[in-house]
Amino acid sequence: MSTVTFALRDSATMLRRNLRHMRRYPSLTFMLVGMPVVFLLLFVYVFGGTVGGNLPGVDGTGRRAYADYLAPGILVVTVVGTATGTAIGIAMDMTEGIIARFRTMAIFRPSILFGHVVGAVIQSMIAVVFVTVVALGVGFRPNASPVEWLAAVGVIAMVSVALTWLAVALGLVARTVESASNLPMPLLLLPFFGSAFVPTDTLPGPLRWFADHQPFTPIIETLRGLLLGTAIGAHGVVSVAWCLGIALLGFVWARAAFERNVARPAR
């Protein structure tokens, strides 16, 4: 077998290991789905009646209109949430003795990380499907064509891959499992300071500038455009650029961190 076949085979083996972990202990997945669902219900039913008027590109007013506006942002929050879970998951896994065993075996080393990343992306897609169903239940009415749906799935997958690599890096540099759960917190807050919950032109000056220039706003606007038909403009290209940048940073950082913390003492 060639090097590439070995690399693929080892990565598939590691992926199976991670999927088995998730299946056996689904509580983390449920927790990761729970948070965006709570946000969705809270915002639609508590704030929706007030905020729901005069939203750009959304028909009608009130709760149903706000559900439309909110859903794309909540889907992105879902992806960020599962990425956070990945940081915790990988930090926990690194304390397992079996990782030291993997390091003494002639395997394709990055497969350990690939297994985590692919597993986490699958997990986040499952979570996104679940949250989408709940959003439909509270009034979300997307008007996307099949091609737009496909593109939307592509955007979510792209965001998920990028954030997961970053989360893996954060999980690897974290000294403890606890700090691994704290490090990605800023990521979780970013969508709130973007266009997830309200249009950015309702925000005060400096905050608006920040909202317009951070990665989550173009990503959410792209998704909103695909699902609801609002204008996408340059947001699509900017989103892809952000995701490529974040993915590359996360990938390089994660690989370096994984090679650096050799033989983390399992005491």
Binding site: M1, F6, R9, D10, T13, R16, R17, R20, H21, R24, Y25, E96, G97, I98, A100, R101, F102, R103, T104, M105, A106, I107, V262, A263, A266, R267
Partner: protein, 312 residues
């Protein structure tokens, strides 16, 4: 392999490793002929695990060279990894998977043919007495079961050189003996074993050669018999109720050492049964009343005291 006449499975020269100011390995040489069992003996913190980590490519040495299975650990780590199996001091099983799944994971990572995987897994489960527990997650395993699975996982890839870092620490005596037997069975298949331990008895039971690690250096090396010759033998300690009895016993058993404060007498001989019988018969014949008797066998402390001039 190297240029010597005997093929060496492990050859290390002047290995050095420090963590900050703590010098852990201060230039050690190790030679292990292929097919033999080598024991690195030392107390907690001596640097045994560090030596295993360097030789098994987990961490780089600061200085010196090491070749395992004919490959330099620094230059061709993957060739070394392909030849070795490591059972570390700390459990290296996946706690969320079952015993069988753990073995299967190893088989997949060794790229074993799907056709042989089932047979290999079943074999190892049988051999390590894990058939009943095969479908339970290892989180439910006892310490002894975990150790056995750990060793079984190490064997999945048919390694030629096996590292066992304190394989029986924390095991009850029965599990310890069972594991010793597993190691002997392995040796019979011709593999090379590098073992670390804190117990002289374990090294004595299993190893062809023993090296004593202390203060980052190898302070003594040889066969078990050679090392034991360096150590003062054990003794039988007799205690008495009354000084007169102690006097009488000291007179009867020449060459023994008295401890007047404890009203005790140390008779050379340790756990030698014939010697013990002779001592008891002599005491009986002279009508000496002994209050208590204890047997002291030579242990690691004695070896170290002898080797290091008692600086520990």
């Amino acid at each position: 392999m190297t240029g010597s006449t005997v093929a060496r499975a492990i050859a290390a020269r002047d290995l050095r490793k420090a963590y900050g100011d703590t010098v852990v390995l201060d230039g050690i040489d190790i030679d292990v002929p292929a097919g033999s069992v080598f024991a690195l003996l030392g107390p907690n913190g001596a640097g045994k695990t560090t030596a295993v980590h360097v030789l098994s490519t987990l961490i780089p040495a600061d200085g010196g060279t090491a070749a395992v299975a004919g490959h330099d650990v620094a230059i061709e780590p993957d060739a070394v990894r392909a030849a070795i199996g490591v059972t570390g001091q700390f459990s290296a099983v996946d706690g969320l998977l079952t015993g069988a799944e753990n073995l299967r994971l190893m088989a997949d990572l060794h790229h074993l043919d799907r056709a042989v995987v089932d047979g290999r897994v079943a074999d190892l489960l049988e051999r390590f007495d894990l058939v009943d527990a095969a479908t339970q997650t290892t989180a439910t395993y006892s310490g002894g079961m975990r150790r056995r699975l750990d060793l079984a996982m190490t064997l999945v890839g048919d390694p030629r050189v096996i590292f066992l870092d304190e394989p029986t620490t924390g095991l009850d005596p029965r599990s310890r003996r069972a594991l010793w037997q597993q190691v002997r069975d392995l040796v019979a298949t011709g593999v090379t074993i590098f073992l670390t331990t804190q117990y002289l008895e374990e090294a004595d039971q299993l190893a062809d050669r023993i090296a004593l690690l202390d203060g980052g250096r190898i302070v003594a090396e040889g066969t078990p018999a050679e090392l034991k010759r360096l150590v003062p033998g054990g003794h039988i300690r007799l205690t008495f109720d009354d000084p007169a009895q102690l006097d009488a016993a000291a007179l009867a058993l020449a060459g023994s050492e008295r401890d007047d404060d404890a009203l005790a007498l140390d008779v050379p001989g340790g756990s030698d049964i014939a010697r013990l019988r002779a001592v008891l018969e002599r005491l009986d014949r002279d009508g000496i009343a002994v209050e208590g008797l204890g047997i002291h066998s030579p242990d690691l402390d004695d070896v170290f005291l002898a080797m290091t001039g008692g600086h520990r």
